[in-house]
């Protein structure tokens, strides 16, 4: 009998842990690095105070599950429903009122064409004319200059539209959002029908979504052959960098700092370069960008004397950040660097 009970308890321990996830622990592990301890906000939006007072539970749940494609917030597809529920419970424990915010799932019928015109006049200054937000990056990071105290959300986003019901959007326009600059309907001078028209317009963004598929030719590393010897290739690259307005840093051999100088391979040189104007813009979009910066081209002389250039495929690396704004700039950077390689290896 005792043995059976013991065995039963052994079974129960992990089951109990699985059955009752700890919201605080889960929040600390998955969310606090961006949303800060106690939801004060950082790279991610603030989750405490007035801002989430009227957030419906379902909206927060779906936001965690689906994320915001192209807007830093990742989709937490591997968390169980119970784990997400526990996180939502923990976040909602910061609410000042125990009032439960619930909104109808009914569709709102409005005139999306009229809504588009109103959106351009009343909403686009903050949410962007295409609904993708006018604020660079997300959240409330105050460490750098910000146009908005809290970056206005991108409404034209599959994650947002799948999480927000029509009536939740309607309520937000009607009542504004306390703790942010989002004004209520009265201040926007909108009629009830006009609010519905705007909701219909926002909902119509869904029609333009296409599933992103990786291009077959995408390679994580770009490799180029140089027709020149090692020193000439390095010299050519520096000349091209200057010509394209990049600033390059002092030469560094790849193994430098990891072993005594006499042991390091001096035929593997990393040319690090930067355009500070662009760097500033990029880290305002996502401050974590340092994990792939500065731009680098590594020049390597092979044992047979042939010289190859290696660099990160910026277009592909940018996608790791789940940030459309970043991806667009990375594509421009990619083109500049291709031009640079062409010039240097011509």
């Amino acid at each position: 009998m005792t043995r059976s009970l013991l065995a039963f308890c052994i079974w129960l321990v992990p089951l109990a842990i699985l059955a009752a996830p700890n919201g605080k622990q889960l929040y600390t592990r998955h969310c606090s690095v961006c949303h800060n301890d106690n939801g004060m906000g950082g790279i991610g939006l603030p989750l405490n105070g007035e801002k989430i007072e009227h957030f419906p539970r379902d909206y927060v749940f779906k936001t965690i599950r689906l994320g915001r494609e192209g807007r830093v917030m990742p989709a937490f597809g591997k968390l169980s429903d119970a784990q997400i529920d526990a996180i939502v419970d923990y976040v909602f424990s910061w609410k000042k009122t125990s009032e439960r915010a619930e909104y109808s799932d009914q569709k709102i019928t409005g005139n999306p064409k009229a809504g588009a015109e109103l959106f351009a006049r009343k909403c686009a200054a903050c949410h962007g004319k295409d609904g993708k937000s006018n604020g660079l990056g997300t959240g409330v990071t105050t460490s750098r200059e910000r146009k908005f105290k809290v970056v206005p959300p991108a409404l034209n986003n599959p994650g947002f539209l799948a999480s927000a019901s029509d009536y939740w959007i309607y309520d937000t326009i009607q009542n504004g959002r306390r703790g942010t600059i989002m004004p209520p309907q009265k201040k926007l001078k909108l009629t009830d029908q006009q609010v519905k028209d705007i909701v219909s317009h926002i909902r119509s963004f869904e029609q333009s979504y296409q599933k992103h598929e990786a291009l077959e030719e995408d390679q994580p590393t770009l490799v180029f052959d140089s027709p020149y010897d090692f020193d000439t290739t390095v010299h050519n690259l520096k000349q091209s960098l200057k010509g394209l307005n990049f600033r390059y840093f002092p030469d560094r051999y790849m193994e430098m700092g990891l072993a005594p100088d006499k042991e390091i391979n001096k035929k593997q040189l990393s040319l690090r370069f930067c355009n500070f104007n662009q760097l500033y813009k990029l880290i305002n979009i996502d401050p974590r960008l340092g994990i792939v910066l500065p731009c680098r081209i590594t020049v390597v002389e092979q044992p047979d004397g042939a010289v190859k250039l290696y660099l990160i495929n910026m277009k592909m690396a940018a996608r790791l950040f789940n940030n459309t704004q970043l991806t667009e700039i990375a594509e421009q950077m990619h083109d500049s660097v291709m031009e640079l390689i062409d010039e240097a290896t011509l």
Binding site: A7, I10, W11, P14, L15, I17, L18, H30, S32, V33, N36, G42, I43, P74, K78, L79, T141, T142, S143, R144, E145, P220, T221, V223, F249, R252, M254, E255, M256, G257, L258, A259, E263, N265, Q268, R272, C274, F276, N277, L279, Y280, I283, P287, R288, G290, I291, V292, L293, P294, R296, T298, V300, K308, Y310, L311, I312, M316, L320, F321, N322
Partner: protein
Amino acid sequence: MNRCKKTIWLRSVLLCLLWLMVAPAQAENMIMVRVHQNFDNTMILLKEALNDYGYRIAHIQKCDGGLSGFGYKTDEYKSVFFGKFQEMRHLTGTHPELIPYLPLKIAVMKENDSILLAALNPLSLSALFPNEDLQNQFGRWESDLRAIFDELAASKEL
């Protein structure tokens, strides 16, 4: 051990293993941690932790210095390049396609009263470089980075 006992024991172990597999279910593109230290202390602790795991700091890129020098407002921000000499020499020889991703890198940035550390999750490279012999390497890096970040997150103020 009789058969029944064995079965119960085995099932319990299996269940625990299952739980362990589910609990750290994460493979995000980035590994991040928030550290409640000042910037200088974080750098000291990071250096110590990297050394403890056999890595050496190759270089520290002062992104903040560069930006300030060009008149941009920025908080403290550094990129720490680190690695193991023999490991890097071996990998650049056998898998030159990894060259742009080496040495490994951690971005260290101030955010209000705390410090954020971010690194590319080495496991996210698995999909990009599917060679079988690299998978253990990515797994080791990932496990080291998580352990280092956990140590820093748990560190007491110096």
